[in-house]
C-alpha cells in the first residue's frame, strides 16, 4: 500500500480565457495526515481541489487518490473521498437529514446505516434544532455545517475541504475542527483543506503546501515553513514568503 493518499504529478490546467491556473503541480499528501493548502487568491488552490474531487480534469499530468488513478477510475476514487467545495452545495428543498441520507445511500450505505449516520451527523454538527427546515430556510452558518457534514456521511478515508470554515461563527468553527481532528485521530481519515485563515492551518495542520502562480512553492511541516521564512508564527512567515516571492 502506497504511503501517499494523494499523489499529483505535473498537473497543468489552463482555462479558455488563457489563464494558466496550474503550471505543473507536483504534490504528495501522506495517508492519515492533516494537510493544509495555502496560497494567495488566484494561486490555483480551488482548481487543484476541483481536480482532486474529480469535478475538473488536468490538461496534462496525473492524479492518484489512495493509489487509484483518477484518469479512468474516477468512480472508484470518488467512493474513497468526501469533498466540500468552496460554494455551499445543497438541495434547497430538502431537509438536512434527507440530504445526508441520500448522500450516504449514493455512496452505497444501506438504508438503515444511512439513516443512523445522518442522525449522528445532525447531532455532531448541531443541526438538530433545524432538522425540520428545508435547506433554503437555514442560516448561512447552518448551511455551511450541513455542506461539510455531507462530505463525511460515508466515512471516507480522505476528506477534501475547500475553505470549509468560511462564514462559520467561532463556536461552530471550533466544533468543526474538533470533529475534523477526531476523524483524523480516531478514524485515521486524511484531511486535506485549503484555508485563508492561517491560524487554522497552524493549529490544525501537520503539513502544508503553498501554491503560488500555479506551482507548489513550498511543501513541508508547518514548523519548517515558519523556520524557513523567519516569522514568529505562520501568518508572519507566510507574509514574508509572499513578499519574497513577489521580489
Amino acid at each position: 500500500m502506497t504511503q501517499a493518499m494523494i499523489v499529483v504529478r505535473g498537473a497543468l490546467r489552463s482555462y479558455p480565457n488563457g489563464t494558466k491556473a496550474l503550471r505543473g503541480v507536483d504534490l504528495e499528501v501522506p495517508r492519515g495526515s492533516r494537510f493544509a493548502l495555502l496560497g494567495p487568491n488566484g494561486a490555483g488552490k480551488s482548481t487543484l481541489i476541483k481536480i482532486l474531487a474529480t469535478i475538473g480534469r488536468p490538461d496534462s499530468g496525473s492524479v492518484e487518490i489512495d493509489g487509484i488513478p483518477l484518469a479512468g477510475s474516477a468512480l472508484a476514487a470518488r467512493s474513497r473521498m468526501g469533498a466540500a467545495l468552496q460554494d455551499v452545495q445543497l438541495d434547497p428543498e430538502a431537509r438536512p437529514a434527507e440530504q445526508l441520507e441520500l448522500q450516504g445511500r449514493l455512496f452505497g450505505l444501506p438504508k438503515a446505516e444511512a439513516e443512523a449516520r445522518a442522525a449522528e451527523l445532525v447531532r455532531r454538527f448541531d443541526l438538530a434544532a433545524v432538522e425540520g427546515k428545508k435547506a433554503k430556510e437555514l442560516s448561512g452558518g447552518n448551511k455551511r455545517r450541513l455542506h461539510v457534514a455531507l462530505a463525511l456521511v460515508h466515512r471516507p478515508s480522505l476528506v477534501i475541504l475547500d475553505e470549509p470554515t468560511a462564514g462559520m461563527d467561532p463556536e461552530i468553527r471550533a466544533a468543526f475542527w474538533a470533529e475534523t481532528r477526531r476523524l483524523n485521530e480516531e478514524e485515521g481519515v486524511t484531511v486535506f483543506f485549503s484555508t485563508q485563515y492561517l491560524e487554522e492551518a497552524e493549529r490544525h495542520a501537520e503539513e502544508l503546501a503553498v501554491l503560488d502562480g500555479g506551482r507548489v512553492a513550498f511543501r513541508g511541516k508547518v514548523a519548517e515553513f515558519a523556520a524557513a521564512h523567519s516569522g514568529e508564527d505562520l501568518e508572519s512567515s507566510y507574509l514574508n514568503f509572499l513578499e519574497a516571492s513577489r521580489g
Binding site: L75, A76, D87, Q89, D91, L102, Q103, F107, G108, L150
Partner: protein, 253 residues
C-alpha cells in the same frame, strides 16, 4: 449501481411531483386545444377526406403532441434548479455516473408524457373519439409520444446545460408547438390550401407521428406512417438523450 439508479430516479420523481407545473401546463393546454378546436372546427369532418370517423378522431393526436410543448420542460427546469443551487456539483461527487442524474430527469418527463397521453386519449374517448385500436393501440400511441417527448425533453436539458440559461428550458418545446401548425394537424394534407405548406408538411416529423397515432388509436390514416413515426421518435429519443448525457461535463466545467 441499480440501487443508486433507483435513488436517483426516486428523487427525480419526487422533484417532478413537487413542481408539477410543466406537466399540468402541458396537460391543460392539450385538453383545452382538443375541446376548443373540436367545438370550433368539428363541422368540417363531414368532408370525405376525414374518412367518416369524426373530427375528434382526427384531432386527438394534436392533443397528445401538444402535451410535449409543456411537459418536456420539466427535466430542464429540474436540472436548472440543481445547477443554480450548486447541488448538481454535490451529486457529481458521488461514485455514480453523472449522466444518471440527467437521464433520470428525462425518464421522468417521458413517464409524465406517457401518462398524460393516456389521460388525453381517455378524455378524447369520453368526448366521443373512436378508440378502435383498443388498449394496445392506445398504449403504442402513448409510447410514441413518450419516446418523441423524451427527445425534446433531453434536447431542452442539453440546451440548458450547455448554455447555463434556464430560460431555454421551454424553447425546444416551443419549436414542437410551431411545427404543429406546419403539419396536417387540423385538416388532412390534401385539404391544406398552399402547395408550400403541403411540401413543408411532408418533411415535418409531426406529420408521421400524428398519422401513426390516428391509425393506432382510431384506425384512420395510413398504417404506412407507423414505421417512419417510430423511427423518428426513436431517433429523437436516442439523439436527444445522447446530447444531454454529453452535456454534463459542460455544467461542471
Amino acid at each position: 449501481m441499480a440501487s443508486s439508479g433507483f435513488l436517483i430516479l426516486s428523487r427525480a420523481i419526487k422533484n417532478s411531483l413537487k413542481n408539477p407545473t410543466p406537466l399540468l401546463t402541458g396537460l391543460g393546454m392539450s385538453l383545452f386545444f382538443l375541446v376548443v378546436y373540436d367545438a370550433g372546427l368539428g363541422g368540417i369532418a363531414r368532408l370525405p377526406e376525414f374518412q367518416g370517423a369524426g373530427y375528434l378522431a382526427f384531432l386527438l393526436p394534436m392533443g397528445v403532441v401538444s402535451l410535449i410543448f409543456g411537459s418536456s420542460a420539466g427535466s430542464a427546469q429540474a436540472l436548472s434548479r440543481d445547477i443554480a443551487s450548486g447541488y448538481f456539483q454535490r451529486l457529481a461527487l458521488a461514485p455514480v455516473p453523472r449522466s444518471a442524474f440527467v437521464l433520470a430527469a428525462i425518464a421522468v418527463d417521458a413517464l409524465g408524457i406517457f401518462v398524460s397521453a393516456l389521460a388525453v386519449i381517455a378524455v378524447g374517448a369520453l368526448l366521443g373519439a373512436p378508440v378502435s385500436g383498443g388498449a394496445a393501440g392506445v398504449l403504442l400511441a402513448a409510447l410514441l409520444a413518450s419516446l418523441f417527448g423524451s427527445g425534446v425533453s433531453a434536447a431542452s436539458a442539453a440546451a440548458v446545460m450547455r448554455t447555463g440559461k434556464a430560460e431555454l428550458a421551454g424553447t425546444i418545446g416551443s419549436v414542437v408547438f410551431m411545427l404543429l401548425f406546419l403539419a396536417p394537424t387540423f385538416v388532412p394534407r390534401e385539404l391544406m390550401g398552399a402547395k408550400w405548406i403541403q411540401a413543408v408538411a411532408a418533411c415535418n416529423p409531426l406529420t408521421y407521428l400524428m398519422a401513426a397515432m390516428r391509425h393506432l388509436v382510431s384506425g384512420i390514416d395510413s398504417p404506412a406512417a407507423l414505421t417512419p413515426a417510430f423511427a423518428i421518435a426513436l431517433a429523437a429519443g436516442l439523439g436527444g438523450t445522447l446530447a444531454a448525457a454529453l452535456s454534463v461535463r459542460k455544467v461542471l466545467s
